[in-house]
């Protein structure tokens, strides 16, 4: 057991190191120059702009050799410093991320978990109900294949603008200040609803399809047939099949939860929801090295953590992994 996790931790650490290095390198290989973007439209004369260019390069630590930048990056990282955003200069990257992440969690965690629960239940139900399998499941395929942008705009347009039931932008009313009042909480939920529903629908379709296929496979498995041959009631057979079919779904869930911090980029753009997805887009478009790095670093860490948790969960829920563990350390 200890050797198993020891080995895992080494793997995780080296993955982290590699991913972070790539994360550091990519924005620097991207075309463009963040300082130029910062200085865009400074109506200076050519010779003074050079001064400002040097000045801000120094402030961002971009005036030193690349290998030194790399070392400084790691040093800063261990101090929890992800640098200063160029786009949002002079805000700190960590501050920007910390402000955005709560919205992502608030929006995505319920969307993912509820769709996981409902989608799996529904998929399992559809697998044994012929008419559902023939009607709703194609709908699920359609939902997952729908360009999300289109679905989002359709929802915003129909329920937001035409019906006027839900607000279409922001995380809470533009006429409110955050406070612990019912008005504010209600507004928060109202604004949350449409992006939530759009995400829920799309995720739901995915889970349902996955579960439907998995459970059909499990119901055809030998252990199911044995139980049936011994006259076990269908409920027991289905319960077993469901439990086993959900295992691969859990892996998918973990990965999705891991990228929660990445936000649902398109959702956040369509509904003007102030999560981190919006910042990733902005940061890439504006060559904001530090913000890009920061956002992706968060994603890397979350994905690794999620994977690690899943490794542990799997050991608990699926005895087959445990045997692999024994075999692995033998």
């Amino acid at each position: 057991m200890r050797r198993y996790f020891g080995r895992k931790i080494v793997v995780y650490l080296s993955t982290f190191f590699l991913a972070v290095t790539i994360d550091w390198a990519i924005p620097r290989f991207m075309p463009g120059n963040p300082i130029l973007n910062l200085l865009t439209r400074v109506a200076g004369r050519p010779e003074t702009v050079q001064h400002m260019y040097n000045y801000y390069s120094r402030i961002f630590g971009l005036d030193i050799p690349v290998w030194k930048q790399y070392i400084n990056f790691w040093i800063a990282l261990f101090h929890g410093d992800l640098g200063t955003s160029v786009l949002m200069f002079p805000q700190k990257v960590t501050a920007i991320i910390m402000r955005a992440v709560p919205y992502d969690i608030f929006l995505l965690v319920p969307a993912i978990l509820l769709s996981f629960y409902a989608g799996n239940k529904f998929g399992a139900f559809a697998a044994r109900t012929k008419w559902l399998d023939n009607t709703v499941l194609p709908l699920g395929y359609m939902l997952t294949a729908t360009p999300y942008m289109w679905l989002g705009i359709l929802l915003a347009w129909s329920l937001g603008i035409v019906a006027g039931i839900f607000p279409i932008a922001g995380a809470y009313g533009f006429n409110l200040q955050p406070s612990l009042s019912w008005v504010f909480i209600l507004s928060l939920l109202e604004h949350w609803f449409l992006p939530f529903v759009s995400l829920f629908l799309v995720y739901f379709g995915g889970w349902a399809i996955g579960m439907r296929n998995m459970i059909i496979y499990e119901l055809e498995a030998d252990y199911s047939h044995y139980l049936e041959a011994l006259g076990a009631p269908r409920s027991l057979v289905r319960k077993y099949a469901y439990r086993n079919a959900i295992l691969p779904q859990i892996t998918g869930l973990a990965l999705q939860l891991g990228v929660v911090v990445a936000g649902a980029l398109v959702t956040e753009v369509v509904f003007s929801y102030p999560g981190i997805g919006y910042w990733i887009l902005q940061a890439i478009q504006n060559q904001d090295y530090f913000l890009i790095q920061g956002c992706f670093l968060f994603i890397i860490i979350m994905v690794l953590i999620a994977n690690f948790i899943i490794d542990i969960v799997y050991v608990i829920v699926d005895p087959r992994t445990r045997l692999g563990m024994v075999g692995g350390s033998a």
Binding site: L36, N37, Y56, I59, P90, A171, Y273, P274, V303
Partner: protein, 600 residues
């Protein structure tokens, strides 16, 4: 996410390598061109003498003329592919660019490309990433690209200073991106800069010379006036400025750097619509103005000295901090603001009197010391303050008394200085004097103390909004009889134009300064209002100019550039790309407010 990583890596590798490659090629070509150019010019002269072509100075879309100029200069289609080859027989392959995602410009360059192609000029539209585009623009590694960075100004110099920025250096960051070298025109622009702003005849004369050279040489092509995008819903606030006879006249805009150009006046003219209820929100609906289109991102700082446009907290300049003067582009007049008066007492001395009784929001008095301090920051921190170059010709600032300053110049650039009078924002010395260079040039400036009509509302700020609260003790209420109507301003950042459009239709937002394609239709139907009830609907804000990289063949040839100017179907850009939301630009490039200086 894995996919994104790989994608980014691959793309970035490709682009990096291709950029490196391009640079080397360009350098090699340049040398060749230098040698060839002289020969070409001689040949050109000989031909022109033989059959002088009558080309009008002000260009317009005229494919026949474009063809004639091309043929005259030796650009003919030798291989029959419908595209001309250079006089030396080499193929012409050029690109016209704009950043990806700037949809209106993307359509515009596709019109530019297709109309050039029709005239036989091989010009292909490309849309690189913003960062790549920006770098190519400043490095001079593009072929042809759009740019519109000259701001609304009281002087024609502002535009020509951008178009003919000199000297040419490695990094052309703020103008003359096509690296057009012409000492004659550089001298004229310098001469214009040093002309008094009230010397209209002198300015006209110099502008005429600049325009004549510009339109003969065609180093860049002014194409259309970008609109001052603004549309509003008058269900909560009325008395918006418009072209209607009885309506007030000012810029209906919330853009950063436009409050002092009439935005404040618009706020002062607004009247609440009767019968609107306060509602249950924190901010009473009937006292709050909701606007969008100014903020490009979430709140980042309140520092008026940071580079960039301050677009993330649009009120920092104009609502919070104020300038000495205001400039009204509709009347082309400058009016004293923080200043009570300002005048040139002789050729190199400018005296400003500050209004008496202006208070900072912390109760301290705003006086000449604050103005002196603010202007002198440019002298103290030449690396980080954008107006530092003024100190090349500004010798010193003397305090005459608490409210009077005297600027002592050596060889003043009157036009630049007059721009600065309404673009430098005065900060309180008693707060800023103790700050370090980094705090001043790169600080957030939390809890700001300003003098303006609104105060920063720290409690209201959200990731997608800034909130401003009216300063009831604002000096201008008494001094100018100017009182801004909204008690609160909520400045919203929408992440997509669809949302902005939906919000203005629903009346959740009163004023939108976003570019909303197709808004003309909504104005026609009366859902929203704009400055003009018909095309072009919007006021003009700046000139979109097609910069041509004059360092590469064949765009180092004036005849070729001129032919291109006649080949571009500006009408289609206006009608098709913008659906009549813009106007075609005057060939001089000057905005309608400066049409007095069109003199070619």
């Amino acid at each position: 996410m894995k996919k994104v990583f790989i994608w980014l890596l691959v793309i970035s590798m490709i682009v990096v390598f291709s950029l490196v490659g391009c640079k080397e090629e360009a350098a090699a070509e340049e040398e060749e061109e230098m040698a060839e150019e002289e020969v070409a010019e001689e040949e050109e002269m000989a031909e022109e003498e033989a059959a002088p072509l009558d080309i009008p100075l002000g260009f317009s879309y005229d494919p026949a003329m474009a063809a004639a100029i091309l043929a005259d200069a030796g650009y003919v289609d030798t291989d029959g592919d419908g595209l001309v080859e250079a006089p030396d027989g080499s193929k012409i392959e050029l690109t016209v660019t704009c950043p990806f995602g700037w949809t209106d410009w993307m359509e515009a360059i596709s019109v530019i490309s297709s109309s050039a192609m029709e005239s036989g000029i091989n010009l292909v539209a490309e849309t690189p990433d913003y960062g790549a585009w920006n770098t190519a623009l400043m490095d001079g590694t593009f072929n042809a690209t759009l740019n519109n960075w000259a701001s609304l100004s009281n002087t024609p110099w502002t535009l020509y200073n951008l178009l003919f920025r000199h000297p040419i250096v490695d990094l052309m960051q703020s103008g003359n991106f096509g690296r057009y070298e012409n000492q004659e025109i550089f001298d004229l622009v310098d001469q214009l800069a040093a002309t008094q702003t009230d010397d209209i005849a002198g300015m006209q004369d110099i502008c005429g010379q600049i325009q004549t050279t510009m339109l003969t040489e065609m180093p860049m092509i002014p194409l259309w006036y970008n609109g001052l995008w603004s549309q509003w819903n008058d269900s909560v606030w009325s008395n918006w400025p418009s072209s209607a006879e009885d309506a007030p006249k000012s810029l209906p805009t919330s853009w950063s750097g436009y409050w002092q150009l009439g935005g404040l006046t618009t706020l002062a003219n607004l009247e609440p619509v009767e019968g609107v209820e306060a509602g249950t929100g924190t901010y009473a609906r009937n006292e709050t103005l909701y606007m969008s289109g100014a903020a490009w991102g979430a709140f980042s700082d309140l520092n008026p000295f940071l580079p960039g446009t301050k677009a993330n907290s649009t009120g920092t300049i104009g609502l919070l901090y104020e300038s000495l003067f205001q400039y009204d582009p509709l009347t082309n007049e400058m009016t004293p603001f923080l200043a009570e008066s300002g005048e040139w007492t002789d050729d190199s001395t400018y005296v400003v009197k500050i209004r008496d009784g202006i208070k900072w929001t912390d109760g301290q008095t705003l006086d000449a010391n604050d103005v002196k301090f603010t202007f002198e920051l440019g002298q103290t921190y030449p690396g980080g303050i954008w107006y530092a170059p003024m100190w090349d010709y500004l010798d010193s600032i003397d305090l005459v008394d608490d409210l009077t300053l005297q600027f002592n110049f050596t060889a003043p650039l009157y036009q630049e200085f007059s721009n600065n009078l309404y673009n430098i924002f005065i900060v309180p010395e008693h707060i800023w004097a103790s700050r370090t260079e980094e705090e001043i040039t790169a600080g957030i400036n939390e809890n700001p103390v300003g003098s303006g009509a609104y105060e920063w509302d720290a409690a209201g700020v959200g990731p997608d909004r800034n909130v401003w609260t009216k300063n009831n003790d604002w000096w201008a209420i008494d001094a100018l009889g100017m009182d801004v109507a909204p008690n609160k301003i909520v400045d919203i950042r929408f992440s997509s134009n669809n949302v902005a459009l939906g919000s203005i239709l629903k009346g959740e937002v009163d004023l939108s300064n976003n570019f909303l394609p197709g808004v003309a239709e909504l104005v026609n139907k009366g859902y929203v209002k704009s400055y003009f009830p018909e095309a072009p609907y919007m006021l003009s804000a700046n000139t979109a100019v097609l910069f041509l990289n004059t360092t590469i063949a064949p765009m180092n040839d004036a005849a070729f550039r001129r032919a291109l100017a006649f080949a571009i179907n500006t009408g289609d850009i206006v009608n098709v790309a913008y659906a009549n939301l813009v106007k075609a630009a005057d060939p001089s490039g000057l905005l309608p407010s400066l049409s007095t200086f069109n003199n070619y």
